[in-house]
C-alpha cells in the first residue's frame, strides 16, 4: 500500500497543478481538480479507477492511473511515469502525467488539454500563491549558496553569501 500512498500524494499534487491552472482564468477547473484528487486513491495498474466527478456535460473518463511500461515499483518506492485519467468536463479534457524517481516526484506535465470543441489548449504555467510556512522548512536549513538581489562588493560583507564563503 506504499505505492498507493505515494500516488495519493502525487495526485494531490496534480490537483494543485490544476488548481493553479484554474487561477489563470481557465473556466471552472474546480471540477477537474476534484476529479484528479479522487483518482489519487487508485492503485497503479489496476486500470479500473473511477475518475471521480466530472463536469455536468462530461462523458466520463477513460482508464485509470497506470504506470508506463518503463516503470518499476521495487522496494516500495515507485519509479516511472504515471499517467492520470483523461477527465472529461463540460469545458474539455484534462490529463496529467507525473514522473517519479524512487518515490520522489521529478516532473508533472499536463499531457492533454482540449477545449469543448476538441481543440488542444495550452496549460498555463501560472504562478499561484504559496504560504510562507509551506516553504519555511528544513528544506531551507542548509544551503550551498544564496541567491538574492545583487549585492555591491561593500554590501557583500553583510550578506549571507559572505557568511557561507567564510564558513566554507
Amino acid at each position: 500500500m506504499r505505492t498507493r500512498a505515494v500516488l495519493g500524494g502525487v495526485f494531490s499534487s496534480a490537483a494543485i497543478l490544476i488548481g493553479a491552472w484554474s487561477l489563470s482564468g481557465a473556466p471552472k477547473a474546480v471540477h477537474v481538480a476534484a476529479a484528479a484528487t479522487t483518482t489519487g486513491t487508485t492503485t497503479p495498474g489496476s486500470g479500473t479507477a473511477s475518475s471521480g466527478t466530472s463536469g455536468s456535460a462530461g462523458s466520463g473518463s477513460t482508464g485509470g492511473a497506470s504506470p508506463a511500461p518503463s516503470s518499476t515499483a521495487s522496494a516500495g518506492k515507485a519509479s516511472g511515469t504515471y499517467t492520470g485519467s483523461v477527465v472529461s468536463t463540460q469545458y474539455g479534457n484534462v490529463q496529467v502525467q507525473v514522473t517519479l524517481s524512487q518515490g520522489k516526484i521529478t516532473d508533472v506535465t499536463a499531457l492533454q488539454l482540449t477545449d469543448r470543441e476538441g481543440r488542444s489548449v495550452q496549460i498555463s504555467n501560472y504562478a499561484a500563491p504559496i504560504l510562507r510556512q509551506e516553504v519555511l522548512t528544513a528544506q531551507s536549513a542548509s544551503v550551498d549558496t544564496v541567491s538574492g538581489a545583487t549585492y555591491t562588493s561593500e554590501g557583500y560583507l553583510t550578506s549571507l553569501q559572505a557568511a557561507l564563503d567564510q564558513a566554507g
Binding site: A5, A20, D144, A149
Partner: protein, 258 residues
Amino acid sequence: MARLVFTSMGTVISVLRPGPELPASLERAVREEFTSRDARFSSYRADSELSRVARGDLSSLTAGPEFRATLHRALGWEEATAGAFSVRSPDGILDLAGIVKAEAIEGAGNILKQTGLHDWLLNAGGDVLVGGHNYGAPWKVGIVDPEDRSKVLAGIELLPGQRALATSGVSERGSHIWSASGRTPFSQVSVLAPDIVTADVLATAIMAGGHRTLEAACSRWDIDALCVTVTGELLTTPRLRLQLQVKPTHDGALPTSA
C-alpha cells in the same frame, strides 16, 4: 570544498568546487570572463566601450564584435519581453548591466565545463549557475528573504535541466530595475531556468513588468519562478511548488501519510 572569491563588476563572485583547489590558470580564466566584460560594458567607467557608445562618441555599428553581439542579444530579449527587459534606463541611457553579468557567468561556466570539471557552482552577486553535484547531492540554493536579508526564504535544488537561478529585487545599486509605471508589485523575483541568461533577464523583466510579464514568461519559456509581492506574499509556479512543498523523508521517499 575549494572556494575562489573575488571582486568584479561592483560585486563579489564565488566559485565552489567540491574537491581540490582550482588550478591557477583556470582561476585566471574565470576571472577574465568578468573583468574583460566589466572593462567593455561598465557604465561606471568613462572609457568603456559602452560609455563611449552611450555618449555618442562611438557608433554601435562600429563597436567591437563582442559589444555588438551582447547588444544584439539584449535587444532580442527586449523584443521578446515586450520591453519589460530594456537595454536602456528610464532616462534613455544605454545600460546593458542586466545581461552582461549573466553572460560572464555563462562564459565562466563554459570554461569550467570545457576544462572537464563536472561539479562546480558559480555565484555572482546572487545569481547562481551550477554544474554537476555537491559530493553527489544536488546543489541547493537559498533564496534571500527580501524583508530580512539575513534570512533564507526557501531552499531550491538545482536539478538537471534547471541549472540556473537568478534573483532580481530592489537591488543595492538600485538602478537595475525600472518599470514603465514606476511601480512594481514584486519586491523580489527569482527565476529558475536551464541557462543563466534566461534566468537573469526574465527575473529582471518580471520584476519590472509585474503579473502580466510573469504569466507571459512562464508560458513561453521553460522556467519556474518564486516571486515575493510588496505585501510579503509568495507566488510560485506549479513545478517549483512541488519541490518546495513535498517534504522527502531522509531516504528521499515521500511521507507515507499523504
